[in-house]
C-alpha cells in the first residue's frame, strides 16, 4: 500500500496538545485541524431530524403500515420449564381473520444446546414467556384472540429462577448439555467451548485484553493491606421507549424488513441465513429507532416469526412486542455476584487483584464482568474467573457497557475502601495506580470544579439527613468496526447526499455524518442530506460498543474528500489555476492566494459532466495501528462525581448532583454528546437506586413486567447533571472521533454508592440501594416475623 507521512494534532488542549507524525495510506485526507479552527465539527449543531421527531413525521417501525399488512402475536409459555407434548392450532387457524399460523421448531434465542433434552418435535420451554407459536391476523386483537385458542399440552418440569438456587448442586437443570452462543455486536463477551457443571458454565478467565497475568499468591504476599468484599448487582431490563418489533414483507423471497434494530446488517444477514436466501434478496430499513441500549442487535424470535408468518400468508406481517414481552423476553443486563480482593503497598501501589464472579443471563450467556478490573489499574498480578449461571428466565443481552457497569460497581467501591484503609484521598490513590492520561486530566478538572477536598469522615453530618460525595471512574476500549462504509454523492444542482446502511439508534448519527461531510466540503450541516438505515446503501457498523462515531465518520470524511478532490479539479479548470491552489470554504472554491477569484459550490456542480458524481470509502485501519484486534490504543476513560442526601430515618436516597467529566476523542456535536452523557448518568442512577427485575421464585414469573412497578427514574429523580467534556486528539483516524454511549453509563452507580457510604458511614454492597437496604445496613429494619 502506498503511504504518506502527515502531521496530526495530538494530545489534550490546555494540557499537552502537540503534533505527531503518522504514516498513513496515501488516499487519506490531510490532517484535520483542532476543533477551535473548524466551522461545523465540534459545534452544537441542531439535529437534522429534530423537526421530524417533534412533529411526529419521523416513521418508526411501530408507525410502518403497508397495504394488506397483517398483525402477528405470539403464544408464550406461562410456565417456566416444560416439555411440550402436543400443540393444537386448529381452532386458531380457523378463527375468522386469521391468515397464517406458525409453530417454532426450535428456539431462536438464548444459548444453543447441543441437543434438545427430549425427543419432542418442539423445543423445550425453558422460561416463562418463551414464544411457542404465532398467528397473523387482520388486527392485533384478532391475532391475540386466536393465540388464546392454541392448545398446548405441557409436561411441567422443576425450574429455578434465582442465581443462588441455580448454583446449588441438584438444582433443576436449564440445559442438559453444554451450550454455546454467538456474541452480538454489543460488546458482551462470550468465550467459546466452556463446559458446564450443573447450571454453572465456566470459568472464563479472559477479558477484552487477554487472560490472567503475574502471580496472585506472590502479589498478595507482597501487600501491606488487603481488602476483600462481595458485591451484588441486579438484573436490569432495557426498557427502550419503542419496544422491539419488525414488519416483514416476504414477497416471494424478495424480502423487505422494517426493523427497530441496532444493526441493519445483522438483521439482514440473520434473516438471509434463517430463510436460506441470498443477502441481496433481503433489504432492511431502519430509519428511526426508539432506543435499544444493546437489546436490539439481533433479528429476534419475533423477527423470525414475522418472517414465517409473512412467507405463509403472502402478506406483510408486523410484530411489535408489548411492554410485558419486552421485559420478559427481549433482553436484560445479567445480575452479578462478585467477590473481589485487592492487595496494595502502603503507598497505594497495587500488588494483586483477584476477581471471582457469577452472573445469570437467564437462558443465555454473556454475564462476565472482568474487563474493567483487568484494564483500569496498573496491577502486575491479576486473575478473573467468571461463571455464567443458567436460570429459567429470559435471555440476557448486551446492555450499555456490558459487564463493565457491574464490574465498576464492585471495583470502584473496593478502590474507595482501599483508599480509606490507606488513609489516602481516593483521587490521590487513583493518581498513583491509574496510568491513563485522560483520566488524570479528568480527575484534575473535576476536583477543580468541585473544589474537592478529601471527603469528610463518613456519616459525620448531624441530623437525620446526611450528605455525601463520591467518585468513580470508567474504562471502555476504543472499538473500531472496519466494516464501515459510506457513499457521498454530489448532484448537478449542488445537492450533497450521504448514504450508509448504518442506523441512528437515536444518538444523532445522521447529524454527525452531515457535519463531517459539510466540514470537508465547506458547506453547512443543513446542506447535506443524510440517508441511512437501509441495507441498499454501503454497509455500516452496528450501533453497539460505542463504535459508530469512530467507525463511520472517518469513511464519511474520506468519501467527501474524494468528492472534493474531483470537484477541485473542475474548479481548477474553471478558475484557470492548479488544483493545489484551490481552497474550498464557506460554499466557495477560491484561489488560496487570491480569495476574490472564486466560484460557488452550486455553480461549480452545474459544470459537472454527469448528473452526479459519487465516491465511497471504507474505514481504514487506525493510524499507528491497533493495540489488539480492532481495539485502539487510546481508551474512553471518564470520571464521575456524585453528591447524595440520605435520610437515615426512612432510607430514602436522593442524588443531588452528578459531575460527569468525559472524553470521546474529538467531539463532533457537543449538544448530542451531552445528551448521551445525560442519558448515561440517568440510566446509572436508575441502576444504582431503582431498577430491579423481580422474579417470583415460586411461580417463575417476573412480577414487575411493566413500567408501573419496574421503577425507572422520572423527572424528580434526575439531579443537576454537570457535564465537562475534555477534547483529546489521538491522531488515530481522519476524524479522530469516538463514541460516548457506553462510558457515560459505567461509573455512575459506583459513584453514587461511594457517596452513600460517605453520607452514612456504612457500605451498601448490593444494588439497587433501596430504602429497605439502607435501613437494614443501619440496623433499623425490624427483624422478620413471618410465620
Amino acid at each position: 500500500m502506498k503511504t504518506k507521512r502527515i502531521k496530526l494534532p495530538h494530545g489534550i488542549p490546555g494540557y499537552n496538545l502537540g503534533e505527531i507524525e503518522r504514516e498513513v495510506p496515501s488516499t487519506e485526507p490531510p490532517a484535520l485541524a483542532v476543533n477551535d479552527k473548524l466551522k461545523v465539527i465540534g459545534k452544537r449543531i441542531k439535529r437534522t431530524d429534530a423537526l421530524a421527531k417533534v412533529n411526529g413525521s419521523a416513521v418508526f417501525t411501530a408507525d410502518v403500515h403497508l397495504p394488506g399488512m397483517l398483525y402477528g402475536r405470539m403464544l408464550r409459555s406461562d410456565i417456566p420449564h416444560a416439555r411440550i407434548k402436543s400443540i393444537d392450532v386448529s381452532a386458531a387457524r380457523e378463527y375468522p381473520g386469521v391468515f397464517a399460523v406458525h409453530i417454532f421448531d426450535r428456539r431462536y434465542e438464548g444459548a444453543n444446546p447441543k441437543k434438545n433434552s427430549s425427543d419432542s418435535e418442539f423445543p423445550d420451554v425453558i422460561y416463562a414467556g418463551q414464544p411457542i407459536a404465532g398467528v397473523a391476523a387482520v388486527n392485533p386483537d384478532v391475532a391475540q384472540e386466536a393465540v388464546s385458542l392454541i392448545k398446548v399440552e405441557y409436561e411441567p418440569m422443576d425450574f429455578v429462577v434465582t442465581m443462588d438456587e441455580a448454583r446449588k448442586p441438584g438444582a433443576p437443570l436449564v440445559y442438559q448439555t453444554d451450550v454455546d452462543q454467538e456474541a452480538s455486536d454489543g460488546g458482551e463477551e462470550i468465550e467459546e467451548g466452556l463446559k458446564s457443571k450443573g447450571n454453572v458454565r465456566g470459568p472464563s478467565t479472559k477479558s477484552f485484553y487477554g487472560g490472567p497475568r503475574g502471580d496472585l499468591e506472590k502479589g498478595f504476599a507482597e501487600a501491606d493491606v488487603i481488602v476483600e468484599r462481595t458485591y451484588r448487582t441486579q438484573v436490569q431490563t432495557h426498557c427502550p421507549l419503542e419496544t422491539h418489533g419488525v414488519v416483514v414483507d416476504y414477497n416471494h423471497g424478495n424480502v423487505t424488513i422494517y426493523a427497530s434494530t441496532q444493526s441493519t446488517k445483522n438483521t439482514r444477514n440473520e434473516f438471509a441465513r434463517t430463510f436460506d436466501l441470498p443477502k441481496s434478496r433481503v433489504r432492511v430499513i431502519s430509519e428511526f429507532i426508539g432506543g435499544g441500549f444493546g437489546a436490539k442487535h439481533t433479528l429476534g424470535s419475533f423477527g423470525v416469526m414475522a418472517g414465517y408468518l409473512s412467507k405463509k400468508s403472502g402478506r406483510p406481517v408486523k410484530i411489535m412486542l408489548d411492554r410485558k414481552e419486552d421485559h420478559i423476553s427481549a433482553g436484560n443486563r445479567p445480575n452479578s455476584l462478585q467477590i473481589i480482593k485487592v492487595g496494595a503497598k502502603k503507598d497505594g501501589t497495587l500488588t494483586a487483584l483477584k476477581q471471582l464472579s457469577y452472573g445469570t443471563a437467564g437462558i443465555g450467556l454473556g454475564a462476565g464482568v472482568g474487563n474493567i478490573a483487568q484494564a483500569m489499574y496498573a496491577c502486575p498480578n491479576f486473575k478473573t474467573e467468571q461463571y455464567d449461571v443458567f436460570t429459567n428466565t429470559g435471555p440476557g443481552a448486551a446492555f450499555r457497557a456490558p459487564g463493565n457497569v457491574q464490574g465498576a460497581f464492585a471495583l470502584e467501591q473496593l478502590i474507595d475502601e482501599l483508599a480509606e484503609r490507606l488513609d489516602m484521598d481516593p483521587l490521590k490513590l487513583r493518581d498513583k495506580i491509574d496510568r491513563s492520561v485522560i483520566r488524570k486530566v479528568e480527575r484534575e478538572h473535576g476536583t477543580k470544579i468541585l473544589n474537592w477536598q478529601k471527603p469528610k469522615k463518613p456519616g459525620s453530618d448531624p441530623g437525620p439527613v446526611k450528605k455525601g460525595i463520591g467518585v468513580a471512574q470508567a474504562h471502555w476500549p476504543r472499538f473500531v468496526n472496519l466494516d464501515s462504509s459510506v457513499e457521498v454523492r454530489v448532484m448537478r444542482d449542488g445537492a450533497v447526499e450521504v448514504r450508509s446502511a448504518v442506523q441512528d439508534i437515536g444518538t444523532g448519527t445522521k447529524t454527525t455524518l452531515a457535519q463531517v461531510v459539510a466540514e470537508e466540503l465547506g458547506l453547512r450541516a443543513e446542506d447535506v442530506t443524510v440517508l441511512i438505515g437501509d441495507t441498499l446503501f454501503p454497509i455500516g457498523p452496528s450501533s453497539g460498543g460505542s463504535v459508530v462515531t469512530g467507525s463511520i465518520t472517518p469513511p464519511a470524511r474520506n468519501a467527501a474528500y474524494k468528492i472534493k478532490t474531483k470537484l477541485t479539479d473542475i474548479a481548477a479548470e474553471e478558475l484557470n489555476t492548479d488544483a493545489n491552489n484551490i481552497l474550498l470554504e464557506n460554499g466557495y472554491f477560491m484561489l488560496t492566494d487570491e480569495p476574490s477569484k472564486k466560484i460557488s459550490f452550486k455553480e461549480l456542480a452545474a459544470k459537472m459532466r454527469v448528473e452526479q458524481i459519487t465516491a465511497t470509502a471504507s474505514r481504514s485501519d487506525d493510524y499507528g495501528g491497533f493495540m489488539l484486534g480492532t481495539i485502539g490504543f487510546e481508551e474512553l476513560g471518564s470520571v464521575q462525581f456524585a453528591e447524595v442526601s440520605v435520610d437515615t430515618e426512612t432510607g430514602f436516597v436522593k442524588v443531588d448532583k452528578v459531575l460527569a467529566v468525559h472524553s470521546c476523542g474529538r467531539p463532533i456535536n457537543i449538544a448530542q454528546i451531552e445528551s448521551q452523557i445525560n442519558g448515561g448518568v440517568i440510566m446509572g442512577i436508575a441502576y444504582a437506586l431503582y431498577e430491579d427485575r423481580v422474579m417470583d421464585k415460586n411461580t417463575g414469573h417476573q412480577m414487575n413486567a411493566n413500567l408501573d412497578q419496574y421503577k425507572m427514574p422520572f423527572s424528580f429523580e434526575i439531579p443537576d447533571i454537570q457535564i465537562e467534556l475534555i477534547e483529546e486528539y489521538g491522531a488515530i483516524s481522519s476524524t479522530d472521533a469516538t463514541g460516548i454511549g457506553e462510558p457515560a453509563n459505567i461509573a455512575t452507580a459506583a459513584a453514587v454508592a461511594n457517596a452513600v457510604y460517605n453520607a452514612i458511614g456504612v457500605r451498601i454492597t448490593e444494588i439497587p440501594i433501596t430504602p429497605a437496604r439502607i435501613l437494614a445496613a443501619l440496623n433499623k429494619e425490624k427483624k422478620v416475623n413471618n410465620e
Partner: protein, 336 residues
C-alpha cells in the same frame, strides 16, 4: 383486550339501569357473563382490561352525567366533593388546601399530572389493589378465587404489615388515607335511588370479611360524593407519602394526620395509615399515644412506635416499620 359495547349514560338512573356488576365481580372466576360495569375515567378499569383481568361485555361511561364533578364548601357544613371530581381539581382547590391540607397533599402527590387530570375521586377510592400477584393474569391468587396467596411466601416487599388475614395485599388509594383521617362520609346512591351515607371506615372491606371485593358497593350502586365534616377551630392536618421515588410511585408507606390542638397540646387526633394493610386504617394506638400530650419530637416518635406495636411484617417488608414510625412522627410534628 376483550371486545365490549359502550354506553354513554346521561343520568345516574340511566347508568344504574345498564349496570349489572361491579368491576370486582368481573375479575372473579365465576364472573357474570354479559357483565356491565361503571367507568368513571377508566384509569384503573382500562388497566385491568388491558392486563386481561377484567372483561366486561358492556362499559357504561358516567363522565357525562351532570352534577357529579362539583366541589362545594361551607365553613359550617363542611366539604362535599363529587365522585367525578378529578384529582387535579382537588389539588387545585384553594378551599381544600386551606381547610383540608392533608387531602390536598394526598391528591397532589398521587400518580402523575396527566393521570390526575383524568382520575376521579370515586375511581380512585374504588380502584383495585396493585398487588403484583393480583395483577398477574397468569396467576390465580387467593383474592381471585384460589387457595394461594403468592405474596405470603413470595415477593412481598410492597405488602401489608398489619391487619391482614391470609391475603396481604394493600389498598392502593392514597386519597382514602387522607379521607380516613378526616372521618369522611361516602355518599352512595342505590339502584332504587335511595341515598346511603356510609362512614368511610365502613366503606372498605377486609379480605378476611370478603376476599372478592375491597369496598361495600353492590352492583349498580354508585358512589356520588364524599363529604368531609366542617373544619373545627384549631384543627390542622398533614399528609406524608414515602415512595421509593418522589415522582409517580405507589407509596411504601403513607400517613395522614388530622389533629385538634390547643397550643402544642394535642386535644384529639386521627392518624390514618395507608399502604400498611388491605384497607386504609386509623391507628388507634397512635391516637391514644399522643392525645392529651404536647406534641414534641419525643411524644411524636412515641406515637409512631405505638402505631407499629401491632405490626407483623412479612419476609421482605420489615423496612416499612421504621419508615412508618418516621413519617408518623414527622406528620405529627408538622401540625404544630
Amino acid at each position: 383486550m376483550n371486545k365490549f359495547s359502550w354506553y354513554d349514560a346521561a343520568s345516574i338512573e340511566e347508568a344504574q339501569k345498564e349496570v349489572n356488576a361491579t368491576v370486582s365481580q368481573t375479575i372473579q372466576p365465576d364472573s357474570p357473563e354479559n357483565a356491565a360495569v361503571f367507568k368513571a375515567s377508566g384509569i384503573d378499569l382500562l388497566d385491568l382490561m388491558k392486563e386481561g383481568l377484567s372483561g366486561p361485555a358492556k362499559v357504561v361511561g358516567i363522565r357525562n352525567i351532570p352534577g357529579l364533578d362539583e366541589i362545594s364548601f361551607d365553613p359550617e357544613k363542611g366539604l362535599r366533593v363529587g365522585a367525578m371530581v378529578t384529582l387535579s381539581q382537588i389539588s387545585g382547590d384553594d378551599r381544600i388546601k386551606a381547610n383540608y391540607l392533608a387531602l390536598h397533599q394526598a391528591a397532589s402527590r398521587a400518580a402523575t399530572p396527566q393521570i390526575r387530570n383524568m382520575a376521579t375521586l370515586g375511581g380512585n377510592l374504588a380502584q383495585r389493589t396493585h398487588c403484583w400477584y393480583f395483577r398477574s393474569k397468569e396467576l390465580v391468587c387467593f383474592r381471585k378465587g384460589s387457595s394461594t396467596c403468592f405474596a405470603h411466601v413470595g415477593e412481598n416487599e410492597n405488602h401489608a404489615i398489619m391487619s391482614y388475614g391470609y391475603c396481604v395485599s394493600i389498598h392502593s388509594s392514597s386519597l382514602a388515607t387522607a379521607l380516613m383521617a378526616f372521618d369522611s362520609i361516602v355518599e352512595i346512591k342505590d339502584k332504587d335511588g335511595k341515598i346511603r351515607l356510609v362512614p368511610i371506615k365502613n366503606f372498605f372491606v377486609l379480605p378476611t370479611v370478603d376476599r372478592t371485593r375491597e369496598n361495600i358497593l353492590e352492583p349498580g350502586e354508585l358512589m356520588t360524593a364524599v363529604i368531609l365534616p366542617a373544619p373545627k377551630r384549631n384543627t390542622v392536618s398533614y399528609y406524608i407519602k414515602m415512595g421509593s421515588r418522589k415522582s409517580q410511585d405507589w407509596p411504601m408507606a403513607e400517613v395522614a394526620v388530622v389533629a385538634e390542638l390547643s397550643g402544642n397540646v394535642c386535644k384529639s387526633v386521627n392518624v390514618a395509615l395507608g399502604a400498611a394493610a388491605p384497607v386504609p386504617l386509623i391507628s388507634k394506638l397512635a391516637n391514644d399515644s399522643i392525645t392529651g400530650k404536647t406534641i414534641t419530637e419525643a411524644t411524636a416518635a412515641e406515637a409512631g412506635r405505638a402505631a407499629m406495636q401491632i405490626a407483623l411484617p412479612l419476609s421482605e417488608n420489615g423496612y416499612k416499620i421504621p419508615v412508618f414510625q418516621t413519617i408518623i412522627k414527622r406528620a405529627l410534628l408538622a401540625v404544630v
